[in-house]
Subunit: 202 residues, 2 copies
């Protein structure tokens, strides 16, 4: 009992519980995808009350972000992005993403996520569901309503490719370019994908 | 000696020699990069005459392509691409790349290459050198001369991202879209990167 009442003991207990919740979350997200996994199910697997999961992590998104060691909470960043001037969406998005990648603290985590999505089918499935629900859904609210998710996915393709080419493959001309140069080059692409002329698929 | 004169023996001998050359090539390309590796050095490592390497593989590019199990010979495909109408370069490039990815025979190899570049630093180094020398160099010959390699690298970033998003992460709206839809959406991006207004970096 001293482990639950002593100062160090309490800490170890809480950290152990958090660990159990994160592990249960990773298993559930992997098995059921982001949409299919529930906080109730994760709590059951971890042997704790769902209220405790809510207390520790708040929302399912925040639990996912913690379980997969995301460098940021996407909805917070995206919330700031979509609140800006519609005519400058492309610029705001690429500048925000490059900001996350350029910062030492968040770059390694971002690249680790990208790597796992490429090499691990389970990680890809989890990320796919999350990106569709939490990221593309929000970006789609500011795109032209027709085919908003298609437009948001095109944005994602250019963003992912820029990250790959500059930070992972390391193509020299993109490594040497400054953030402002890349923003100037890529922003019009994203802006067109979101609000410009894009033929509806099908 | 029968192994070198008998029918089956000769085949096994040639196949063994080819195998030794490809293994030496992979080691040399990994150690010295695409530009630094020489056919002479690879032949020495494999214990054969350089003329035999030329006889089997022709150029250094073809040897690299065979050693890394490329699905295509890039310079041949790119040669066709850059010979087309300058105003339709963007369309031709994205249609050609999607053609390689859509074909069952070449898709698996392409994706395996992409995966290894993302997860293996040595593979990334080899590919980086090859892409810069053999691919970007050729594409750059048809871009605006100012910052031609920067322009070609921007093209590569969108192409790689499209491949990742459609074939590896599997974003639904891009998976569902037809090739013609994707060509219509992405071609103007590539065209602008190659021949449109792009601010010079620096």
């Amino acid at each position: 009992m001293s482990a639950e009442t002593g100062r160090t003991g309490r800490r170890a207990g809480e950290s152990g519980t958090r660990q159990a919740i994160l592990e249960a979350a990773r298993r559930r997200f992997a098995e059921h995808g982001y949409d299919g996994a529930t906080i109730r199910g994760i709590a059951a697997d971890a042997g704790v009350d769902p209220a405790l999961v809510h207390h520790f992590y708040g929302t399912k998104e925040r639990l996912f972000v913690a379980a997969l060691r995301f460098p940021i909470v996407p909805s917070e960043v995206i919330g700031r992005v979509v609140g800006t001037d519609r005519e400058r969406l492309g610029e705001t998005i690429v500048r925000t993403v490059l900001g996350v990648w350029e910062a030492k603290e968040t770059r390694a985590q971002s690249l680790a996520l990208l790597r796992s999505a490429v090499t691990n089918e389970q990680a890809a499935t989890m990320l796919r569901g999350f990106v569709s629900s939490a990221i593309l859904g929000t970006i789609a609210t500011v795109a032209e309503p027709e085919d908003a998710e298609y437009r948001a996915s095109l944005v994602a393709s250019q963003i992912v490719g820029l990250g790959m080419a500059r930070y992972i493959v390391g193509l020299e001309p993109l490594v040497r370019a400054g953030v402002d140069d890349l923003v100037a080059a890529v922003a019009p692409t994203l802006q067109r994908y979101l609000t410009g002329e894009v033929r509806a698929p099908g």
